[in-house]
Structures are given as C-alpha cells and as structure tokens.
Symmetry: C2
Subunit: 230 residues, 2 copies
C-alpha cells in the first residue's frame, strides 16, 4: 500500500513513430495533423498514449496507432530512441519512446486516403515545416539511423512494394545514403548475400524489363561486414 | 484545460542503469538491494523515478541515481533500450528507460563502500541470482551491446582507471568479446587509430614494465571499420 504509484508525480508518456515509405522516387514520412492541444493544428508524428487495458507492450501501442492511420501493421518496426525532458511539451515533463517504421506506399494508400488528418509528405517538404514538439529532431534522428541501415543492410527494402527490381532498391539506397552506388558492385553484393528471391516475373522500367524480387524472411536481419558504398 | 494529463491513466515510469566496471580481471556490475515493495530485499539495477523538479532530462535522472550510489558521474553513459509492458512490474503497466554506464572501480570504491545497499558483483555471480523485475534480461542486453562496442571501439576503456596499459585494455576486450586477440594486431590497430596518449609513465605487470596510456577526449566516439578480432 505504501507503493501506490499515485504518490509519484509522473512525466507524461507517449510513443511516436517515424513511418517512412518510398514512392515516386521520393522518401516520404507519414504525418498527422493534431486535433488536440497543445500544438493544435500543427503536423506531427503519429503516436499517442499507452492504453493500459488494450496494450500489453509498448510495441502494441505503436502498432495500434499506426494501424489507425494506415490500416495495416508495418513489416518493419524498430525502437529508435527515448527522449524525455522538462521542455519538449508545454504541459510539463514529457517522455516519448520513438520508433522507426517502414511500409510500402501501395499497401496502405487506400486507407490513408480515408484518414482526413494523415498524409504522406516528402522529407524535403517536411524539413521546411514547423512541426509539433521536437518531432522535426526525431525525424532527423530516424533519417540518420535509416542512412546507416542503408549502408549495412537491405532493411530499406521494407519501404518498397513486396516485389521490386534491383534498380528500384539501388535508387532507394542511393536516396538514403545521399550518393550514387556502382550498379555492378551493388548487384553483386546483394546477390552474394542471398537475401532476395527471384519471383520469375519482370517489370519494364523505361528500357528493358528488370527481374522482380522479394525479400527472404530473415533478410532484414542481415548485416554486411563492409558497407555497401565500400 | 481539456488536456490535463491527469485524465490519462499512465504507466509507471523509471530509469535503470547497468553500470559496469573492470576490477581484478573481472567484469562487475553495480547492484542495489531493494528497500521498497515490490521485490523488497531483492537485488536489482540502480535507478528510480524522475524528479520533476530537480531533473531537466532523463540523463539527469540516471546521473543523479548513479551519483547517489557511487559519489561520481560515470565518464560513459548511453541509452540502451526502453522496455515497457503490462507484466514486468506487479504494480501494473511499467516502462523503464535502461542505460549502460561505465566507470573505473577505484574512482568510486570509497563511496560505494559507504552505501550499505550497493555492491559490485561479478557478472558470473549476477547470472546466478534472482534479480528484481526483468533486470537480469536488461543486464544481458547491456552485456551484448558492450560486446559489440568492444569489437568496434575502445569504449570499454571507460571501465578502466584513467591510466592503463595496453595489456590491461586487451584483457578487458578479450573478456567482453569472449575470446583471445592477437597482441601485435590489437596493439597496431589501437596505435593506428591514434586514440590514446602515452603518459610517459610505466607500470610493472608481473614481467617488464608496460607503458601507461590514457584516452584522448573523443576516443570513445571512434568506430573501427573492421572489427578488432578481424
């Protein structure tokens, strides 16, 4: 009885997700327009409070919040960082557990279109916006972490359709890393790591048809010893 | 006014630190015996609640808690992971933001000796104990993260005295990695990276005297491209 938690005045606690996709040769992030104080009307990250009854883990909270906005669960979700301090929320001491998530644009397009307050925005556009709280800084953190992933893994492929071409995957990696990669070398590294399944189908991208691949189940866990621009 | 945080029933929120040191050729972690319910009398990680008045950031909370037990601030502190779920604490939904910290044994020995409920324990001993909450799992997470650091950086050196010999540093890396390293190769890699300052002093370790080094200011931020056992 002497350990009733009400005796401790506790920080506000939320989760937030930086959900990326890659669409029309452009990195995009899902933002939500706030309908509550504080920061009413500003755009920010999808997220919110733990539901102590419905959620069993923090990941349940994030997945529930993302499902509300996208209709599906992201195939990739990873804890990014927890930020907590007295200044980030004018209501007082506030802690947010931030996650990075990836999802194919087409997989959730129809649902996102029905959610009035949610929108995919190009990262370049987002960088110019006055976002709620410290969400701009959280997006920068997630962007940098994703750049590291693009150097050492094919995790970014979770932002593509289920089947994709190697030129598509390379373009995404180049967008994330911020510089061009050698086509031959990229193809060889990916092939040697045996991360993809050739579906046998092809898709034309301007020129000649390119083979369509999908990721093997555990492909996201693979880490290249040398980075992909090496 | 419609956004008073009291309206949301909120999880219990704590920080916990896995504080490592290296002493007498042994990795040790600082544990604290709980003097409160729940898990009264069990040993667990130093940590506790945010003080909404005194703490400005989560790191302030961790540093304050570690200072209470050790008398000093650790030279190395890094966020490890946040664990939150409905089961880890019998009081209900609970979130802990876990940190890894490193500190020299001698730097805090005198203070720790005055704190009745705090003790350095060998990792092997800790593995056999029935610790409070999920602290055993959190220590395993921190241990694995530190193993990775030992492969790619000299961050573990923060668990040594301010001045140390290369054989000492190598022994610590070997303890963390769990296998022997080539002496010549280890020495060459460390020297090439220019991370240490030769103090000009020497210390005898059984045989001939070995040069005493200390870390350069930013040495903890350096990442080896190839890992140290390569």
């Amino acid at each position: 009885a002497d350990y009733d938690k009400r005796q401790y005045d506790s920080p506000l606690l939320t989760v937030d997700a930086v959900l990326f996709t890659y669409h029309e040769a452009c990195l995009k992030v899902l933002l939500v327009q706030r309908s509550n104080h504080p920061e009413l009307g500003k755009w920010g990250l999808p997220g919110g409070f733990v539901d102590l009854i419905r959620d069993i883990t923090l990941e349940d909270t994030v997945l529930r919040k993302l499902q509300e906005k996208t209709g599906i669960e992201p195939p990739y979700l990873e804890q990014l960082q927890t930020i907590g301090n007295a200044q980030r929320d004018k209501r007082g001491w506030s802690v947010t557990i931030a996650y990075t998530a990836l999802m194919a644009f087409q997989a959730c397009y129809a649902h996102v279109a029905t959610v009035a307050d949610a929108q995919w925005l190009a990262l370049d556009t987002v960088a110019e916006m006055d976002l709620a709280f410290d969400h701009q800084a959280i997006i920068s953190l997630a962007r940098e972490r994703l750049r590291q992933k693009a150097l050492y893994s094919i995790v970014p492929a979770y932002a593509l359709e289920e089947t994709f071409t190697l030129p598509e995957l390379q373009a995404l990696h180049e967008a994330l890393i911020g510089k061009g990669l050698q086509k031959k070398s990229f193809r060889r590294r990916i092939e040697q790591a045996e991360l993809l399944i050739d579906t046998g189908e092809k898709r034309s991208e301007g020129g000649r048809p390119a083979a369509l691949y999908k990721m093997k189940k555990s492909a996201g866990n693979y880490t290249f010893v040398r980075n992909l621009e090496d």
